[in-house]
């Protein structure tokens, strides 16, 4: 067993997981049949994923539902045993779930909760303080920081069942990070939250990452979470890593080119605008269209010369559009950086 160099927080090599899935025909007869004779087959959820993360790195883990994101996170936290390949997290083999390992990691799942439902969050914090053997002075200091950054003042003494979803999620995060883990697995931490709450969760994660140089793997359905927090993106589709690189080069993957936004002084017809690019849209004096990446400057120059333009901006397409294209068009189009 080779231990990873000290500048690697997470090392994943050819990680695999397959499940045995039971099949059941629909309806009552199907249920009876399956009760007596279960048909099952193997399904690969993660099919050979490899990557390294440096300490303090924040990566966004993206992919459609069922792509294998949660399965990968569960293998890295030690909840699931890999069917093949290896994972090292903070120098440990996650599947063994050794105490020193568990004290250095945390798993936050937006759809599951660990807080005691009938008690104020503060009671759950005390339970975690005891479980993780957090010294009193450190507990107080951490609580002070978290209360300030998350704005927990006034909600810590309310029963968890009486908190709003957003307030509860803040408390969940605090409970999960109380022991100051070095590696954070955040699975949809902002799901269902309103925009303000999402923003404060992001701010908290960013603050924690900087303060403790913690390594963060984040999955989310909200692209804003990922673009706000992560410089590096891993995209997984059907159990295979299809992209590993920074946000900007993910946008490069898009064949849709760049988006040009125009403010015009005189109205223009859609047909006329369409001569300069594709996917043109006109709304009064505002207009936008897409142009091929390689011809951005030439097309912009023509637009400025031909039309009465008040303002012109060139943007990368929204990451949502890139993702939709990536997954819609199939993975063969997405040539991954550094991945087979």
């Amino acid at each position: 067993m080779t231990s990873p160099p000290p500048n690697v927080a997470v090392q994943v090599r050819d990680l695999r997981k397959s499940y045995t899935v039971h099949e059941k025909d629909p309806g009552f007869v199907g249920s009876v049949k399956s009760f007596f004779n279960r048909k099952s087959h193997e399904v690969g959820a993660v099919k050979g994923v490899s990557f390294d993360l440096a300490p303090g790195e924040v990566v966004g883990f993206l992919g459609p539902n069922g792509a294998g994101k949660t399965t990968t996170l569960k293998m890295l936290s030690g909840l699931l045993h890999p069917t093949g390949g290896t994972a090292r997290v903070a120098g440990f083999e996650p599947r063994k779930r050794e105490t020193p390992f568990l004290k250095q990691i945390t798993l936050v799942m937006g759809q599951k909760q660990q807080l005691i439902w009938d008690l104020p969050a503060l009671d759950s914090f005390l339970v975690n303080q005891a479980i993780y053997e957090i010294p009193e002075a450190q507990y107080r200091a951490t609580m002070r920081e978290f209360t300030e950054v998350l704005g927990l003042e006034g909600i810590l003494k309310k029963q968890v069942r009486k908190l709003s979803l957003g307030e509860r999620m803040k408390c969940e995060l605090a409970a999960a990070l109380l022991h100051r883990p070095r590696v954070l697995f955040l699975d949809e931490p902002t799901i269902g939250l309103d925009v303000n709450m999402q923003e404060s969760v992001r701010a908290f994660v960013r603050d924690y990452n900087q303060r403790f140089e913690a390594t963060v793997i984040l999955t989310s359905h909200y692209m804003a979470d990922v673009t706000a927090l992560a410089r590096r993106i891993l995209v997984i589709d059907a159990g295979v890593l299809v992209f590993d690189g920074d946000l900007a080069s993910l946008a490069e993957q898009s064949s849709g080119g760049k988006t040009v936004r125009l403010q015009l002084r005189q109205p223009i017809s859609l047909a006329e605008l369409s001569r300069y690019g594709f996917d043109a849209k006109v709304d009064g004096l505002s207009a936008e269209l897409s142009v091929p990446r390689s011809e951005v400057s030439a097309r912009a120059a023509r637009l400025l010369a031909d039309l009465d333009v008040a303002d012109l901006t060139v943007e990368d397409p929204p990451i949502e559009a890139v993702m939709a294209e990536l997954f819609g068009a199939g993975k063969e189009k997405a040539v991954a950086e550094g991945v087979g």
């Binding site: 949660t70 699931l80 759950s124 005891a130 479980i131």
Partner: protein, 262 residues
């Protein structure tokens, strides 16, 4: 060790605070306890109420009452300490919160076994102890008998815990296991009566297949000095074997756990 005692103190504080949230529940719990003891007493009242009946299965009325006392005490132990925790195992597997339990740096079996108490059912324990003291006051009890009964009953509690743990652990595969605790309660109901009151095949079944005899009859026999050496040795042995066996079963279950999908 001190760490785990400290954890028990913290867990107990939290679970009691949680229950104080629901005060109306208290009345219901007291009524449930009274109902339990009523049914148990009715059982032996019917047996001994027959004209001319002075003993059942070699047990006098007060000896039989002693068995009822141990039955109630055990009911109380289950209601207060065992069932509130074990019933949560299936729930935690179904909702996926077992994930958090398994990622805590403490023994997961300890964690799931000590997190909850149903303090409201402490009345069962008090009624059980009351019945034991009352019945014992009519019987000759030696110091040796008390010590033997203490050891036998401690083994009994371990046996009860292990059976519940093993039944609840099946939740890792079957997810829904409410019928498992019904199964236990159904069979355990036989513990109200001295096992000697049953025909020999049933007695053998309740001793060797499901060790109900060790839970109520054996401690009662030990207290009154009527315990055979064989059973006295068997009881702690059965407890030890079940403890190791249920622990291995738990480990195996956790090992094959594939948590509920997100």
């Amino acid at each position: 060790m001190t760490r785990y005692l400290r954890l028990i103190r913290i867990f107990t504080g939290a679970t009691i605070s949680a229950q104080l949230e629901y005060r109306a529940n208290f009345l219901g719990a007291v009524l449930a306890s009274l109902g339990e003891v009523g049914v148990a007493l009715l059982g032996i009242a019917v047996l001994f109420g027959q004209p001319g009946t002075v003993s059942v299965g070699g047990y006098s009325f007060h000896q039989a009452l002693l068995v009822v006392g141990f039955f109630m005490l055990t009911e109380g132990f289950i209601s207060v300490f065992v069932q509130p925790n074990m019933s949560k195992i299936a729930e935690a597997v179904r909702t996926g919160s077992m994930d958090f339990t398994l990622l805590k740096p403490i023994d997961a079996q300890f964690n799931v076994s000590t997190r909850n108490l149903n303090v409201l059912r402490v009345t069962d324990i008090l009624i059980g102890l009351g019945l034991i003291f009352y019945a014992a006051s009519f019987l000759t009890v030696t110091l040796g008998g008390v010590l033997a009964a203490a050891v036998m009953y401690l083994s009994a509690l371990v046996i009860v815990y292990c059976i519940w743990l093993a039944l609840s652990t099946t939740a890792f595969w079957f997810v829904k296991t409410q019928n498992m605790s019904e199964l236990f309660n159904g069979v355990f109901g036989a513990g109200r009566f001295p096992v000697t009151a049953f025909p020999v095949p049933v007695r053998a079944f309740l001793t060797f297949v499901v060790p109900i005899a060790f839970i109520t009859t054996v401690p009662a026999q030990a207290l009154t000095g009527g315990l055979s050496t064989l059973l006295a040795l068997a009881s702690p042995l059965v407890a030890a074997v079940l403890f190791v066996g249920s622990r291995l079963f738990w480990k195996k279950a956790v090992g094959s756990y594939t948590s509920a999908s997100s």
